[in-house]
Amino acid sequence: MEVAARARDILTMIFLITTVTSAGVAGVFTYHYVQFFPSMKELRLDISLLSFNPTPLSLNATVIFKVTNPSSYSGVSLTDFVTNFTIQAPGNVIIPQGFVDVYIRPKALDSQNQITLRVPITGSRDGPYKIYQLLNTYTPSQFRFNFTSTVFVSTFLQSYATVQAIYECTTTINTGSCDQAAVLLKTHPGPGTSAGGG
């Protein structure tokens, strides 16, 4: 009986130590998880360059986007980048140009990492021709490109949901800026798709 009592005591101690240890480990991972949503709000998109030399058939433009994770959170990666854009000509003439989907091999977007995306833009429909005609009157620097860009991020929730950060960017060949419009947590496409804003 004494041996049994001693075994119980030892098991109780081991159980207690295991509980404290596992709670400590879980605390670290919980802290990391709590940092996740604020870090998604900190994700930044910038336009570092817009070059623009249209012909009647193509806008012949290149935009360089930079996606940055300035937070201390690691464990996410960039999986896709889609942008919709319009061109705003002088006189407030808006020329919609549709979507550009940039194929990306998933890249880690760890803490302080920056990913550069070079996006060639040819334009669509009669947009390039209209711009080309307008260039007889105006200079390229008078045209404004307005982008609505979606950054798709793979996270630890990937099995259940995707994270999408949406940005509104506006740029001329001289200067540009982007603002984060929303961070969406979405279930994977299919029946019962639902979404939430963060």
């Binding site: 295991t18 630890f156 939430g196 804003g197």
Partner: protein, 122 residues
């Protein structure tokens, strides 16, 4: 009571480190949970106490885990309507990770633990 409290914290902890990393339990996570339940079941030294202890520990553990999972909602980091979506998402994840295999396996572990204690300690 203290045993159920520690048992529940252990279950919540193992689940938390798993689901906050990859939203699912790996085989070794389930193995650790199983060993915890065998040990806790043995410490109860009684089948009835092991069964009710396990039920109490699971309820406590899942409650702790759920509260941890919705900290971003409780602190306002995730604003409406995303907060409702996150709550539903975590309920879905936790239900899928718990029912039925893991829950039954851990229940079996608790019973085995109680059985081993009755066999060797009496």
């Amino acid at each position: 009571m203290i045993l159920v409290l520690l048992w529940g914290i252990s279950i919540a902890s193992v689940f938390a480190q798993a689901v906050f990393q990859r939203t699912s339990l790996a085989v070794y996570d389930i193995a650790i949970l199983f060993v915890i339940c065998v040990a806790a079941g043995a410490l109860t030294q009684d089948f009835t106490k092991a069964i009710f202890g396990y039920i109490g520990a699971m309820i406590l553990g899942m409650t702790i885990l759920f509260v941890l999972a919705i900290i971003p909602v409780l602190t306002g980091t995730v604003a409406p309507p995303g907060d409702q979506f996150l709550i539903v998402l975590w309920i879905s994840i936790l239900v899928q990770q718990t029912f039925p295999t893991t829950m039954l396996l851990l229940f079996a572990g608790s019973i085995i633990g109680a059985g081993l204690a009755e066999h060797y300690w009496y």
